[in-house]
């Protein structure tokens, strides 16, 4: 069995040196202070991360804001061109051409009526 081979067994001196090198701090106050630091770090991270449950909504919100901005811009542009079109149509379909005809027509028949009266009398 390989475990029995002497080169694989722990060397007492090496183990002693390793324990010396990797000895954790022995002072209880050190561990208490470390615990306080760890818990303070957790409390700080917890406080900073209060909004994290909403983190998933941030991207959705950004997309929604961008989409609504785009829609607003498009509708404003569409509304602008529709106004121009309406104005053009209003001008183009103006009843101006009928008014002179009515007045001119009125004065022509009056002249004809006068002429007809003079001829017959």
């Amino acid at each position: 069995m390989t475990d029995e081979r002497s080169e694989f067994r722990a060397d007492e001196t090496v183990t002693r040196l390793l324990r010396e090198r990797f000895a954790p701090p022995a002072d209880d106050s050190y561990w208490h202070a470390l615990e306080v630091r760890i818990m303070a770090g957790i409390a700080g991270a917890d406080h900073d991360a209060w909004w994290q449950p909403f983190g998933g909504w941030v991207r959705t919100g950004m997309f929604a804001a961008a989409a609504s901005l785009l829609l607003t811009a498009m509708s404003l542009r569409w509304a602008g061109s529709a106004d121009a079109q309406t104005l053009y149509q209003a001008v183009a379909a103006s009843p101006v051409e009928t008014l002179p005809v009515a007045s001119e027509g009125g004065s022509a028949s009056a002249r004809e009526a006068t002429l007809e009266y003079l001829i017959t009398h």
Partner: protein, 211 residues
């Protein structure tokens, strides 16, 4: 000797009229104490009790430190890895399954934090031993030389082998636990331990022969 007990308020640990319960938690390494209700603490911590998580920190920070130290090498980096590890563990509590040992789950997270740190650092370094440390050797000159040789040998060891030998020979983890902590098969942990021991023995053996 009985260690002082500490009452920890756990919200939601009891059903019925009272929704609060006290769980007695004792400091680790005392002889005649009951085993702390680690599972209860883990469940309470998962349900949002920071007091329960603080008790878990108290129970496991020394061993978790040893795990981190075996990977990163220096005390300062071990502290950083430990704090990162506990923070990650706290955030991952909802993924902790009560049927598993909290310690094993935690040490794996701390080991991953330590491995991340070493990847960021790129180079693993070792602390200078304080001169005032109590030496187990009679001849200070010999002890210094042995330490120097050990440092050189550790520096040439693959980092995983180094972690395995420290976790096994210094901290007393078994092969299965080491495999779980480092995310390697148990057989690999065993093989790493053999190679590391042989390399360290060789490096100090040369010094012994020289003398």
């Amino acid at each position: 000797m009985r260690m002082p007990a500490e009452n920890i308020l756990l919200p939601g640990a009891m059903s019925g009229v009272a929704s609060l319960a006290y769980v007695t938690v004792l400091a680790p390494n005392s002889d005649d104490r009951p085993a702390p209700d680690e599972r209860g603490l883990a469940i309470a911590a998962r349900d949002g009790s920071t007091d329960a998580f603080a008790a878990l920190v108290r129970l496991h920070q020394r061993r978790a430190y040893a795990v981190a130290r075996s990977i990163v090498g220096t005390h300062h980096d071990a502290e950083d890895a430990l704090q990162d590890g506990f923070l990650h563990a706290f955030r991952a509590l909802d993924r902790f399954r009560p049927d598993q040992a909290f310690g094993s789950w935690l040490y794996r997270i701390v080991a991953n934090a330590a491995l991340d740190l070493t990847r960021r650092r790129k180079v693993r370094s070792w602390d200078e031993l304080p001169a005032a440390i109590a030496s187990p050797f009679r001849d200070p000159g010999e002890a210094d030389e042995l330490r120097r040789r050990l440092d050189e040998a550790l520096a040439t060891l693959p980092s995983r082998q180094c972690s395995v030998v420290v976790l096994h020979d210094v901290e007393g983890f078994n092969h299965a636990e080491i495999g779980e902590i480092l995310g390697i098969p148990e057989g690999t942990a065993r093989s790493d331990l053999h190679h590391a021991r042989a390399a360290l023995r060789r490096s100090l053996g040369e010094f012994r022969r020289e003398r």
